[in-house]
Amino acid sequence: MEPTNVKDPEYFHKVVDCQYACPAHTPVPEYIRLIAQEKYAEAYMVNWESNVFPGILGRTCDRPCEPACRRGRLEDEEPVAICRLKRVAADNKGDIEHLLPKKQEKMNGKKVALIGAGPSSLTVARDLAVLGYEIHLFDEQEKGGGMMRSQIPSFRLPAEVLDGEVSQILNIGVHTHFNTYVKSLKEVIDQKYDAIFVGTGAPKGRNLELPGRLEGAANIHIGIEWLASVAFEHTTKIGEKVIVLGGGNTAMDCCRTSRRLGGKDVKVIVRSPFAEMKASPWEKEDAIHEDIPIIDNHVPKSFVTQNGKLIGMNFEKVHAVYDANGKRSLEPTGEAEVFFEADDVLIAVGQENSFPWIERDLGIEFDKWEMPVVNQTTFQSAVPNIFFGGDASLGPKNVITAVAQGHQAAISIDLFCNGKAVTERPAPFTNLYSTKMGIHEWAYDSEVSNDDRYVVPQADKAVVLKDRKKEVELGFNLPTGFKEAQRCLNCDVQTVFTESKCIECDACMDICPTNCITFTTNGEEEDLRSRLFVPAENHSQALMVSDILPTGKVMVKDEDVCLHCGLCAERCPTSAWDMQQFLYNTSKAGSCH
């Protein structure tokens, strides 16, 4: 193999698994260390700059970082509770008013309209407002937040937290136009904005057209619409027997909300097997904890009504069959249909984009699924000054993805408004510096904690089920937060190898607790992988290969289960190994001029 080019920031970026997996590339180990140092405000600001909504995401994020966490690849280990540590930073940040940007005094003369006030639009608003753009934010709701307000129930995300983080952005001098439904994009275009950003989400809940749908309509609700109606207090109760259809996070929010509005016998009924449900495992656990059974492998067939009123639903039992390519199909078991009683049914089987307000003759291209054609890097549409982001751009995903897309769209808008090519993306900001302080002394806690993952405490079930606004999760207290933070392996403290200093004494290879390092003769990647001290079978993890050493061998390090404990560097007599802290920040709007 060719020597690994560690000068390419993407190499070390990929070693920081959590940060790499995060759509917004938040420097996770960096803020976890700050939490351990009791620097909560600083930890919050690292998050705020990167993901805009630390308090919100610390409670509701889909956490793509956690399945990626290196700790999860160790034997009998679970990932670091990254998401809930973020909440520790948010809960304990104290007064950060002085750290937040203020309304710009000098504007740059450019006007940008943002349609929809959800996470992606708010991200664009923040990134551009600080640069002096005049931001106009439009939303049909009475407050900002979008789906974070209408779809995420208060028992998961208290209104104060949401309001607080939305205001932090609006206070930078954003002109808000709430209670304003934009019914025509053409009208917005006519206002002569320099750029328009569409962040209207995926507002349409999918319906299920089954027999009995019309007769039972009064007691059959679309999940996200029903959640919004609860959030805005138009709906305050539900029947005692509730069926929730669907297996995603919306279904989990629907069933748990039902339990708080009077639902006593609430069940989730889903087509797929339990393990393949789209909902996050922890959300399923929380639902089950609230006495909500999840009945899998049941396909809804019909709504059953009596005297024009819904009394329940019929289901067909199926089982999953997989073809040679692993593609799943659900085949009926042949058993008789089963009937479940219900006073109300909530349909949470997915949501869709909907753009009835965008005229089709404006030059914006739509594909065969009626989705706007948007560049996946620049988020620019076929009309150069109109950009899309969040669920409105590439379909329904999650808050953190919307934020990441918002940042990219903001960069594009800034480039566009400065007459630069939107395809010329600014490089990330990176830094790499030694953490060596002395013998056996590093600027980070190199000792690897043996603790198991800590469980986030929850409020008493009897209490939370009585009040839909009472937050269920209590968050880590500070001592537990510290211990959980210490579980982080500091993957951003990189093992940097300098061939010219190596005397090939094997000390690093002998000491490495997880046998990551091998000195051997060079070869092609597959061959090398098979010849390592422990063969490197996880192909998603890179090999770091040195140049040829004096004996003709190369140093090969398998990044897979490196603990970043620094023992290789401690045992290296010549400092050929060094532990160097790597910082990678994706660029934000404004970094290109």
């Binding site: 034997e75 090939e504 045992r571």
Partner: protein, 350 residues
Amino acid sequence: MTYIKSKFAHPNLPKNKLGYTRKEYEGSLTTLCAGCGHDSIGAAIVEACWEMSIEPHKVAKLSGIGCSSKTPAYFLNNSHGFNSVHGRMPSVATGANLANKDLIYLGVSGDGDSASIGMGQFVHVIRRNLNMTYIVMNNGCYGLTKGQDSATADAGSKSKAGSVNMFEGIDLCGLAIELGATFVAQSFSGDKHQLVPLIQAAISHPGFALINVLSPCVTFNNNVGSTKSYDYVREHVEATGTLDYVPPMTEITTTYTDDETKMVEMHDGSWLRLHKLSQTWNPDDKISAINALQHSHVKNEILTGLLYMNNESKELHSLLNTTDVPLNKLNESVLCPGVEILEKINSEFR
């Protein structure tokens, strides 16, 4: 201050026939200097024992005093160990071996412990052909007392402070062959590829097996002008040949027709695959081994690999014709058979 080795291991660590990973053969975290050759030798011992699927409790590690003699703390933590008096490890090993011949005896010593204070013990344990593996971690200096020249430092070798050693160094391998050692090898801590099979062959060998391992002292003897530095050894090393250890019960399918390669069956059923690099050297010919050593001295080369092996070796127990059952397993009635038997024995001497 950290310096703590994590309990976490690679989840795919291979297991040996006993179901153990290398972790079960490791020791405490070393306190030797970073980059010390001794640690590499320790790692080679771990590798050798793991690969041979030796039950850790069947090994006794014995050592004297010195940096080298500290190392048994850093490998085979599940084995027996005895850290003895300076230079007196061979006596303790002899006593232990006579009491329980069922254990594998692994002696670890240094150039000071063997070639100076312990020289008297060293030569006699060789003469007696005690069944043990005796590894000398040889760095040519007294590292524990700040690097004075030891008795194995070569004449002309320069110390870190710049003084040149005027005395001839003792060649432990030449001496051992001279004294009738039945297995003599020399190796380099920086070459595990060679060292691991040598340790395995030494453990399999019935009788005294010496491996003199050049093990650079990074702190006091790794300077330019030293003949025991990493660089010097790498530049001057020459191998007699290569040796592969083939564990017992392995089916030998290849036959070698060339003169250079041969399979040697060991007492425990394992095999050594010897591949000669030198035409004039023969591992079972003492004279050729001494010649090869002397020639390499003249050429300023460091000869490594297996130097000499007598596969007909008779170790101490068979020389003394002791009981098959180890002495420590015999009960009192067998060990003290009574007055009548004693009388009978005594009468034989009258």
